[in-house]
């Protein structure tokens, strides 16, 4: 068991790829926002890439390990310490019974991941241990970690001293600017040529009103083609209204003039258009960016987006570990 001494801002149990197969009932996949860092943490401790671990956001937790374990911390730098002594990220480390792991505010990036050899052993819910706390499902009692709760672990032996080659880790932006890949569509034909150019050449600021359900962006106006105006009344009267349709994960959903990137805990369908979609390979950048950061979007094809994802999957393997 792991005892939660300080819960952190919003720390939750997640597994990869999350809760899959229930999109038609409205369940989002949830899962780790930066699955690149998450999978590497699991590999370091000898777990399958999808084993359940912890996602820490903005301010990390303080945890006491009741039993000896091998753990790894990846992703954002929350200056982790074990009994007060700093421990390295991107490396598997031994923990003896009773030791306390303390993680503070993120100094770079936003989300850190803690993997334990054997994986977290909460009861799966609809096939996944991922937490969707807004609906109270999954994880530890359907919510983010609370003070004094206990996290069950199915401990196995792990090997300390393994580390991820530096070139195989995601490289966080140090300039507060990020280039985010997008695939045009499904509804890019609702945006006129000037609007498409404006979207792809402007700075978009990540708003503070952002969380795991959606990333709100501040930026210029959108302008539309006739599809947005010459439509039957049941589509709704605003240009970005459409008859309710399914939302791809990562869709940039245009609610009026407000673009909201639909992320891990977001809605599965609704009545606004999605002119662009962030592909799975770019999700880690969203997950590690902070309110106030600037996004510049780069259009890529479906094929290019799929190639990026395959490259990232290849990095989430034993080949990246020394």
């Amino acid at each position: 068991m792991i005892d939660v001494i300080i819960a952190g801002l919003e720390t939750s149990v997640q597994d990869y790829p999350g809760r899959i197969g229930f999109w038609n009932q409205g369940f989002p996949p949830s899962g780790p926002f930066d699955s690149w860092s998450f999978r590497l943490a699991n590999l370091l401790v000898g777990n399958a890439v999808g084993a359940a671990g912890l996602e820490c956001q903005y301010m990390g937790p303080t945890l006491r390990f009741a039993e000896a374990a091998v753990i790894a911390v990846t992703g954002a730098d929350m200056t982790p310490t074990l009994d007060g002594t700093p421990v390295p990220l991107w490396q598997s480390i031994p923990v003896t019974a009773g030791q306390v792991l303390k993680m503070g505010p993120a100094k770079s990036g936003t989300r850190a991941y803690v993997a334990i050899a054997g994986g977290i052993d909460t009861a799966p819910w609809l096939g996944s241990r991922s937490t969707f706390h807004k609906a109270g499902v999954g994880g530890l009692s359907g919510s983010a970690l609370k003070k004094d709760s206990r996290i069950p672990v199915a401990y196995t032996a792990g090997t300390p001293g393994r580390s991820v080659k530096p070139e195989c880790r995601p490289a966080f932006s140090t300039t507060k600017q990020w280039q985010i890949e997008v695939v045009p569509g499904p509804d890019d034909d609702w945006i006129d040529a000037a609007g498409q150019e404006r979207f792809l050449t402007s700075d978009w600021k990540l708003s503070g009103k952002s969380d795991r359900t959606g990333f709100r962006l501040d930026g210029p106006q959108w302008t539309f083609t006739s599809k947005a105006y010459d439509k039957r009344p049941e589509n709704g009267s605003e240009p970005s209204n459409i008859i309710d349709h399914g939302y791809p994960l990562g869709a940039i959903n245009l609610a009026g003039q407000t673009p909201i990137i639909l992320v891990s805990d977001g809605p599965s369908m609704g009545g606004f258009i999605n002119p662009y979609t962030v592909p799975s390979a770019a999700f880690w950048k969203l997950g590690q960016s902070r309110p106030g950061d600037i996004y510049r979007f780069k259009a890529v094809s479906v094929d290019e987006a799929q190639a990026l994802r395959r490259q990232q999957d290849a990095l989430c393997s034993e080949a990246s570990i020394v």
Partner: protein, 72 residues
């Protein structure tokens, strides 16, 4: 002894509870930030007098790691 209390998270300044000249004790909440719709209270680490308040209630888009309140 003095303390420079920094913002722990990037986000909005939801409430500022002190002004220059206020006497505070260790543990008193100085200001509350908001990120991901969660309140993040920031407390004084020492007893003392607030000498400087560099943030304003309602400010949005603050960075983490900036000096918000100084106690002497």
């Amino acid at each position: 002894m003095s303390e420079r209390v920094e913002t722990q998270v990037p986000g909005n300044m939801w409430k500022v509870l002190v002004k220059a000249g206020d006497i505070v004790k260790a543990g008193d909440t100085l200001f509350i930030m908001e990120v991901m719709k969660t309140e993040v209270p920031h407390v004084a680490g020492i007893d003392g007098t607030v000498t400087d308040v560099r943030i304003t209630e309602g400010e949005e888009g603050l960075e983490a790691g900036i000096v918000a309140v100084v106690i002497a």
